[in-house]
């Protein structure tokens, strides 16, 4: 029933949308490291100098790790969604493009976060960037369900995955709200993703799936 709705004449295979997305995520995640190599370590003569220099990099390195891991979370959500999406129409491609635009901005907002973490604005822009990307990701799933781009998934399962996808929206909204006070530490909320997912999805997950977590858990 879901299957028949997407128009074969106005859609293309999702294969290249996946390839383009994998490429953009891979590059955005790798460009983050340029924020580390560009840092000046000052005049280094001894091991102690270098150790001190690397300690001043502690915050940039923490930002790098956090940004990298959240990009991974967002990429995994995309993978789980497109496990079921086989064709995309113009609307689906544009939602994906806007999602990627927000992904590409991450190295920029991440560098602002590192340079100006003493300021409210410096702290809040990176969480907002993640929040927007995650919201568009969730909208893309809503589009997929409505347009009939999903195959081999019952409407019930599709809705349950949508509710599970809300988990990341809720968590990233909370991270935005907390970031003025606790800065990048707010991103540690993402560790709760599995828990919130389970709660939003209800108690219908299969008891046997020990590694169950995130949007990927389909009961």
């Amino acid at each position: 029933m879901i299957r028949r709705r997407i128009h074969p004449e106005t859609s293309v295979s999702a294969r290249r949308t996946e390839a383009f997305t994998d490429g953009v995520f891979a590059i955005a995640a790798t460009l983050l490291v340029l924020g580390l190599t560009d840092q000046s370590l000052g005049a280094v003569q001894t091991n102690d100098d270098l150790a001190r220099g690397l300690l001043t990099l502690a915050h940039p390195i923490f930002s790098f790790v956090i940004s990298f891991l959240i990009l991974c979370v967002m990429w995994m959500t995309h993978v789980r969604q497109f496990e079921w999406i086989v064709r995309v129409d113009d609307t689906g491609m544009w939602l994906n493009n806007i999602r990627l635009l927000l992904v590409v901005l991450v190295p920029f907002t991440s560098s602002l976060n590192t340079s100006y973490d003493g300021l409210l604005l410096g702290r809040i822009l990176l969480p907002i960037n993640f929040f927007l990307a995650i919201v568009v990701g969730w909208l893309q799933w809503v589009w997929a369900v409505r347009s009939g781009a999903i195959v081999d998934l019952t409407p019930d399962d599709a809705r349950r995955m949508g509710r599970a996808g809300l988990s990341a929206v809720v968590i990233s909204a909370a991270a935005v709200a907390l970031s003025p006070w606790i800065g990048s530490l707010a991103f540690l909320l993402f560790a709760l993703d599995g828990l919130v997912t389970r709660w939003l999805r209800g108690s219908d997950a299969p008891a046997s799936s020990a590694t169950d977590g995130g949007v990927g858990g389909r009961g």
Copy 2:
């Protein structure tokens, strides 16, 4: 009938041409963000300083968003074309290479556009870059139709897609013509793509395709 013309001995599967293209587009689109991180925000001490600094970035950010979205338009056109092209010969690969050369130039002409938007030459080079890339893209479709690289598409549908592809050529030519006066705003013309496509293709689009737009609309 179209199918039999391309020579199996002098052509290769289009799969890797697609992979190379997706990679180049993904990297060119992601490199655009380096134009933002490189910008100096001046001496920032307070939230107001940072807000002011980001406001001076308004134009670079606008350029970034526009360039990213037009690269997406060009990538989507490529995807729609290669949905039907399964093999490429030397001519097809060289047309693709020149198309990608023009794509790779975009971060450069985009940075010129940002730095020298007060000058005629600064304003016009980015639209010309897009225009040339789009023309080569259209030539590639002409090649595909003539060489028999297209499968599973009637000659009529192929020609109709070619006319639809002209839409981007017409719009980007108009953007070149208008850019000396209105600068990057000229790119907003691309929002008319769906409309011009429908007009060029004639009124034979299926009434049922609500999300119909761009080259992808095949009646």
Copy 3:
């Protein structure tokens, strides 16, 4: 028997994990060259000046080549593992993400290695980076065997590949231990990979495989 364990509801096809991994490795390996272009060659007026300038680049070029080749070793290990892994669950994807995080760090630790090779800390961080990435790669194979992500491989063969995978762990640990004394030369130990692999795997390799070496040798 191995096949039945991974949960189809909580796992996705490994295809995109492979694509993301290939992208990250390709970018990390290519970014290494930026460490060369950024080097100042001083004031160059004559061929002799340029030759002298390039000679001062001898160490950065050596570091570039070594880092590139070890990234290739790590990528080949990933390819050999995923030749048998067809689906990944959350645990498998996170192990892969952490592996890639360590891969992405290589251009940074490689630049430290080039700039501070006179210092103990400068010498040891790059080998540690490789060691950690290789350990996580080995853990991913352990996960694959236990979770049932592997198909078409007998448990015996899977265990033998695991032992062969230990080869890189042992060699990179030795490289960490030797690097304070001999610096980047410690990486030449990787040339022993084939030998150590054969030794760890036992003498059950097929006599016919002349090009046999590394994790890929499956008897």
Copy 4:
């Protein structure tokens, strides 16, 4: 007969070698543009200033175009070879890695070529880089023929493709020899590729293949 030789136990599918290669080529080709954006255009106040500034970029832009197109030639050769190679063993992967190492060096030697084109050494390093990459590419085809990595191609056709592959080796050697005198113009020799290919391959090409050229021409 060719088919049976490669050892299924010590080889993997060539699919990911292709993906890694496409990624490295795409990134190396796109990084070339950074050589343009980094150029200083001087103090630009008027259209004339900008036009003069861009004219001083004429040589870097020419280098960029030439390097991009030769990377395309090398990528096309790879595509044509791997159209027939379905599995790779350790030797095949290492030949590919060294080929990619030389590809990754191109943005570096290309920047040397731009900065020091007045010096013999500055002129000759880029052609040498291309020459070495092309030789390794030709060695990879020799390996493929000998190891039995090729399928669906008669030994005669495989040898004929090898002879055709020699065309690029001969041309790039000539470019090295001429570059001290005519610099980057030596690369225009690559336009003769089709001609030299036909001559090396003998006159057995099918008369019907009008677009025939390069290694791709298989009679």
